[in-house]
Amino acid sequence: MKDLKRLAFERKKAMSLLIAMSVLKGISMIGQAVFFVLAVDGVFIQDKSFAEIVPYLYALVATIIIRSASSYLIGRTGVNMAADVKKELRLKLVNSFKEDPLLSSAESPSGQKVGLLMDAVDETDGFFSKYIPQLMQSYVIPLLLLVAIVSQNWTTGLILLLTAPFIPVFMAIVGKRTKEKADEKVDQLNRFSGTFLDILQGLTTLRLFGQSDKQKEKIEKSSKDFRESTMDVLKSAFLSSLTLEYISMLSIGIIALEVGLRLVVFDNLSFFSAFFIMILVPDFFMMLKDFGSAFHSARGSLSAAQLLDEEFSKERTPVKWGETELAENRIPHIRLEDVGFSYNRNFALQQISFDIEAGKKIAIIGKSGSGKTTLLHIIAGLLPVKEGRILIEGKNREEISESSWFGHISYISQSPYLFAGTISENIAIGVTGVPSEEEIERAAMKAGLAQLIESLPAGYRTQVGEGGRGLSGGEKQRIALARAFLKKPAVVLFDEPTTGLDLKTEQILQQSIAELSRYATVITVAHRLHTIRNSDQIIYLEKGKVAAVGTHEELASDYETYRNLLPLQQGGALR
């Protein structure tokens, strides 16, 4: 609430405009009442001719237009403020996503973040477009009306001053009760709305088990229960409106009586003043009641704001970078010194130290959960080095520029991402410039894609990714390879797939990595014996620590744990 309010009050220009327009609206409301009353008073009490009151009618047209225009401007300012704040929030979100290193390491970030960017931000709209403008009007206009009323009859003003405070007080009391009731039932309510989703999601299962007819009753029952619970909450909310309405009705009644008494019995109030008061008093209460309903509609914004706040206040350790450029066309020497990293979970990489000489083939192996992929991400510069350091050509990597580093590496993950676009564009993403068609085709050929692509009617212009043609896992891998061939990196990081690839892709992957390794250091999280055996150096990880380093032969002869890992090679029985 405070954050949202701060965001609103920061926009001084918009806020001043809101206040100015509220004042104008208040004045035009008073003006409108004045001229209405003057016109009626003119013909009714003072027996003026129609021609004599025509000026009042013109004045009325003017005040009505001013009132509508100021209302429009208030609404418009609210809408503008909401749009500006939403833009600011969205940009801030994108920025915070960008700085979250975990985003690049997660295999599939949840759709939740998209939801934050789209829905949560949209839900804050009501606060700025409705609540804030109403808040300003409720501050300014009732005050102006009160002044106008007091100027005509101070006792009416006194009655208003005595009765009006009941409205916010009751609003707060009943609002709190409603909220308590809603909180109390929130689980229950979520459950009910969840039931429908649950049943729809499981509809295939229900049909396969011949159970779908029974679910109809379940939906009926849960809908009824949902209705009863919601009505319970709503009843107390409606009761609060009833109370407010009753308070304002009562006050209007008292004021009418008071005004009537003064008119009839004491005869010390003019028809003009009486009528004027009777027009403005309902407006006065209407403003207060509108504030109540606007407050209600701001509720949704508050929970959305809380979600956003949680995202913004997450602790992030971005990867640090410097300014130094790496030499072009030179494979860098990489050295890890006591590198450590931990998630908030119970997992940590500790004291990882080894050297990666230029142009070597490195295999990282270990059981699942030993930290292989995390280590690869750290080497890639996707996750921060929390302890120790990584030296590139003897220089701390934190001094090297991000762009220069990423310009030197390729990363072939288990699930490369395809962007919406053509195959050609998806390969071209490998470089920052605009590659020629020949270059793209050559890269595709090396990645074993040429035949497949040429068999497609649209060839390299075939749309893939979201809303495009689906590619199989193997084909995606080959696109990633083509990106790497186009880029000609000095360091290739490769997360070897565990299952699900077709034989052809397997073969192409092996050939391609061999080809790439001729001009690059290749660091592989390896699952294939073939890859491991062909490596110059094997890093064996166990529970986040380097358990052994060496060649296949060295480890096979000296390290029993490693030997045990290789039963297949010894012709042992299948699992």
Partner: protein, 568 residues
């Protein structure tokens, strides 16, 4: 429009609540008009006479009307919301009834979960239909009619002006803005869609973007889309404010016209000045009720679209009209030249598949991910239609038989199995509602889940269970179903391989007459199968027994070699 009329029908099924809501809505509106009218009259009367009784009578009226208005408003809200929630319940049931026959195919065709969330969102957004679309114009019509009839007694001109005001503020202006909105609405949806797609790419493709140094470019695109979506929203918001202001302006001008007309006739002596203030107050009061109409265009468009989309989803007539029952004999399935292509894709997912699944045989399907194994299973299950070619059960074309009849014979375990919020017991009893605890426990034992209590809570989608537990629970559910056709899609991929083998062996031993069709990525243990089908790119490239395939030294052999290469 067809969609909305369906919704209207559902809404009107709750006659009592809707009628009561309308009556109280009308009373509330009329009472508030009466309140203002009497206050106008009171003042005028009081200005002329010194009689205290008049004052007291009218003062009492004032209180009465105020109280009546507040109470009616309360009842109106109560009944209209009740009716809305009842309608929402009816809508859910009716939608479920219509979705149910087409669901498996629909879900199979559109593989994203997007469809479901859209459906649910649309159903929920229809709750505004009664409250903000259907109901306000009806109540306004009644309130205006009542008011106009009353004013007719005093001034026919005022009545005419009020009628004109009603037509303008409740019909013409909202209709005009609804039309404008309809013209512009696609733009906001388009920009929202574009932003959502771009954001998804930004988040899911983040790593690749970062490594390929495309992040800045993508971020600029994202920022541009944020901008354009924001601008569209801004336009929409301004449009709403504009429509609201125009409606209010029209109402004020009508009140002004009533004043001018009344003043003219009063000055001319044709209208008793006593009623002038009252008539003006009446017009104020009656136009106070039009506020909900400002939101009408938005809600109308939203409801119309939601209804149309829902109609589109369930509007497809169910493919199956056949009601034939499968013969009770053991079933042999035969597939000839089967092909299937997903909608919006060019490449067939299944391409010229022919195979035999004799009764009591055990078949394994293997191949790379994306090779069409699961699609083949879906077509065999009749969840997806056979695009080309035919499937026969004991020599009779499968299109003769109802889906229910086919499914009643199948024990299916899919890659993703749905579990409902409830208990282990309630989820298992889906398969056999008559099964007692002993039978349920036995089924759990068969899948090595003996330590599960039947009363254990299962959360939505079984999210409190591990992948392996869910798979085993799905197998237990299939065991309880007791059909003879077993269709298992990687049923133990998340279970450790020893336990997986144990479960397979138990199934084969306990159900010797069963026909098994198993998709597996694990090539070990396949020697027990009668035949192995190898798929690549939607085609069946090899088939035979384990020994035959190894001897061929073809694709299966290559896969086997590769598996040998992979470290645990």
């Amino acid at each position: 429009m067809n969609g909305l009329s369906q919704i209207l029908k559902l809404t009107l099924r709750e006659k009592k609540d809707v009628t009561l809501a309308i009556i109280f809505g009308m009373l509330a509106g009329l009472a508030s008009v009466a309140l203002l009218a009497s206050s106008g009259y009171l003042i005028s009367k009081a200005a002329l006479t010194g009689q205290l009784t008049v004052l007291i009578v009218i003062g009492a009226c004032l209180k009465l009307f105020g109280l009546a208005s507040a109470l009616s408003r309360y009842s109106e809200r109560l009944f209209s919301h009740r009716a809305t929630f009842t309608m929402l319940g009816n809508l859910r049931v009716s939608f479920f009834e219509r979705l149910s026959p087409v669901a498996p195919e629909l879900y199979g065709k559109y593989r994203s979960g997007d469809l479901l969330s859209r459906i649910i969102g649309d159903v929920e957004s229809l709750q505004n239909f009664l409250l903000r679309v259907f109901y306000p114009p009806v109540v306004l019509l009644l309130v205006f009619t009542g008011t106009i009839l009353f004013t007719l007694y005093f001034s026919i001109q005022t009545a005419i002006l009020l009628a004109a005001g009603f037509l303008l503020t409740t019909v013409a202006v909202p209709a005009y803005f609804a039309w404008r909105r309809r013209r512009n609405d696609w733009r906001i949806r388009e920009s929202r869609g574009a932003l959502s797609a771009e954001a998804t790419e930004f988040l899911y493709g983040f790593r690749d973007l970062k490594i390929y140094r495309q992040l800045t470019g993508k971020e600029q695109q994202l920022t541009a889309l944020i901008d354009s979506y924001n601008e569209e929203q801004r336009k929409e918001g301004k449009e709403e404010v504009y429509s609201q202001s125009i409606n209010a302006l029209v109402a004020f001008l009508i009140s002004l016209a009533i004043l001018a007309m009344g003043a003219y006739f009063t000055a001319a002596g044709e209208l008793d000045g006593l009623f002038l203030a009252m008539l003006v107050m009446i017009s104020f009061g009656v136009f106070e009720n039009i506020a909900p109409m400002a939101a009408f265009p938005g809600h109308f468009e939203e409801s119309r679209k939601a209804a149309a989309r829902l109609e589109e989803v369930v509007g497809e007539a169910p493919r199956h009209k056949k009601t034939g029952e499968l013969p009770a004999d053991p079933l042999s399935i035969s597939v000839r030249n089967l092909s299937y292509t997903f909608p919006d894709e060019q490449r067939p997912a299944l391409d010229g598949i022919s195979l035999n699944l004799p009764a009591g045989s055990k078949t394994a399907i293997v191949g790379a991910s994306g090779s069409g194994k699961s699609t083949l299973l879906s077509v065999l299950m009749d969840v997806l239609p056979a695009g080309e070619g035919e499937i026969t059960f004991n020599g009779r074309d499968s299109v003769e038989f109802s889906q229910e009849s086919i499914w009643s014979r199948m024990n299916v375990v899919l890659q993703e199995n749905h579990f409902f919020y409830g208990t282990i017991r309630s989820n298992l009893q889906l398969a056999d509602s008559a099964a007692d605890d002993a039978q349920l426990t036995e089924a759990l034992q068969k899948v090595e889940l003996a330590d599960f209590s039947l009363d254990m809570e299962v959360e939505e989608k079984g999210q409190n269970l591990s992948g392996g537990e869910r798979q085993r629970l799905a197998i237990a559910r299939a065991i309880l179903k007791a059909g003879e056709l077993w269709l298992l899609d990687e049923p133990v991929s998340s279970v450790d391989s020893a336990t997986g083998q144990l479960i397979y062996e138990r199934l084969f031993r306990n159900y010797p007459g069963g026909t098994f069709i198993i998709i597996s990525h694990d090539l070990s243990g396949l020697h027990a199968m009668d035949q192995i089908l190898v798929m690549e790119n939607g085609r069946l490239i090899e088939q035979g027994t384990y020994e035959e395939l190894l001897e061929q030294k073809g694709y299966f052999y290559g896969m086997k070699e590769l598996e040998r290469e992979i470290l645990a």
